[in-house]
């Protein structure tokens, strides 16, 4: 049974159809990439999965439909969403941001352990834990956003364009950390515009255009596709 199964998903904003028909599947522990240009429906797809917008079609997590789940209950099911633009609680400290990621968890010892895990993954956050999160650089803020989502201890982590607005030096670091998170056993669905980096780390990749899935395959297959090479990789 797949961890996440999305089939023939539709999302519309008023009359505008943002997603016409998208089908994707994430198995336990997989790292799946979703590529596509601006406006292809990538962010909308993640928002539909975390139930912050309404959608139609199959949307199953561990064989149970997500449709009847209230948005704030999605975390409890095991899905954590690291949103586009990071959306940190900018006036709160780094530590408080991370602690809020563990809002639903009652076991303090476990939360401490996960905090330690985040600090190991991103050592710079340990030094900056008392700093107001808005004073951090873009890359560091992205680390807080990823760390905050990890604090919910997800089985499936949704990452929305983690590489946007980040210095090239930190970008590699962010992608390395994403691989590390996967090695620790968390399935990841990452939405990106940076095709090269995504193809480097993902097991399988879906390509979205105009709200439809136009390609799917292993990273190697997609990287070898003529159309993808021309449009996305600029080969």
């Amino acid at each position: 049974m797949p961890l996440l199964e999305v089939a023939d998903l539709k999302v519309s904003y008023g009359k505008a159809l943002a997603i016409e028909s998208v089908s994707i599947r994430v198995e336990k522990g997989e790292l799946i990439g979703v590529l596509g240009p601006n406006g292809a429906g990538k962010t909308t797809l993640l928002k539909a999965i975390s139930r912050s917008i309404a959608s139609q079609g199959t949307l199953n997590f561990k064989d149970a439909s997500l449709h009847p789940i209230e948005p704030y209950n999605v975390v409890a099911k095991g899905i954590c969403h690291c949103p586009e633009g990071r959306k940190l609680f900018s006036e709160l400290s780094v530590l408080k941001n991370l602690q809020l990621g563990a809002y639903l968890r009652k076991n303090n010892a476990d939360v401490e352990k996960d905090l330690e895990r985040v600090f190991t993954l991103f050592p710079v956050l340990r030094e900056r834990q008392w700093q107001q999160s808005s004073t951090l650089s873009g890359g560091e803020q992205q680390m807080v956003a990823i760390g905050r989502a990890l604090m919910g201890r997800p089985e499936l982590l949704l990452l929305d364009e983690p590489s946007v607005g980040i210095a090239p030096r930190l970008k590699g670091l962010i992608f390395d950390s994403i691989q590390q998170i996967r090695r620790d056993g968390t399935a990841i669905l990452i939405v990106e515009q940076d095709a090269t980096s995504t193809l480097r780390i993902a097991d399988r990749v879906y390509v979205l255009e105009h709200g439809r899935t136009i390609r799917e395959g292993t990273s190697a297959e997609i990287a070898g596709d003529k159309y993808i090479q021309q449009i996305y990789l600029g080969v």
């Binding site: 975390s50 912050s52 209230e70 948005p71 704030y72 209950n73 999605v74 975390v75 409890a76 954590c80 969403h81 690291c82 949103p83 959306k87 940190l88 609680f89 900018s90 006036e91 709160l92 408080k96 602690q99 809020l100 990621g101 809002y103 639903l104 905050r148 989502a149 919910g152």
Partner: protein
Amino acid sequence: MLQILIYGAVSSAIYAMLAVGFTLIFGVARILNLAHGSFYALGAYAAYVLTSLLGVPLFIAAPLAVLIVAGFGVVMERFLVRPLRSSQLAVLMITLAVSLAVEQALFITFGSEYRNVPSFVADKLSIGGVDISGQRLLALVAGVLVLLGLWLFIQRTRLGAAILAVSQDPEAAQYMGIPTNRIFSIVMAISAGTAALAGVLVSPFLTVQPTMGLLPMVKAFAIVIVGGLGSIPGSIIASLILGYSETIVAYLISTSWTELVSLVAVVVTLMIRPSGLLGRRAAF
């Protein structure tokens, strides 16, 4: 001099209790609640009904009155404000409608005559030669304790952190598993409850009558504009400024000039610093 210091502190504490709740519900839920003064009036009337009509002992009546009004606030938010939340203007109009409805309901039920609520503390105290009623002093102490308690609640508890999170980014808060609607209800209860407490505390020494909510509403609005809409520290500082300026004006010039202070403060603030002392953005 000492008299100004003490009386100014009492006014400031009452204003702060009113303004903090008003700014809190705006900061968290973006509700500009024009019915905030109604909570204050309802608090005073609830205390009047419970003590004078039903003979409930004061120290039970006071918290009961606060709870009743907090419940009223929650119901108002849930059934009248929430369905309209997508439009700020609609929220403004519905809360204005509630405040008018409350005022009329009080008129019809109790008439326009002044009602009396017995004092919690009958004794007068003398501090450094200044006589002050125990009731005013109680309002001051209660105000300081409530604000301190609220600050600790928001800064130190898990629920407080959730309130801060929702005020800064409701969407991100939802991604953390924070039920934003429930947070709105809780904050509304706190907001209505603190306003009601202010009404209960002043009811023995101010007049209890149906329109009593209007002036505090104007003051709360003025304080929040001066302090910065959505900023709790800002509203406390502005409460102190306004409370003391009014007291000083009352002593040096005349009490009939005091109502002008808040209006001047609003005009000056909007001209010089539209976002208020500690506000993040222009309120209007």
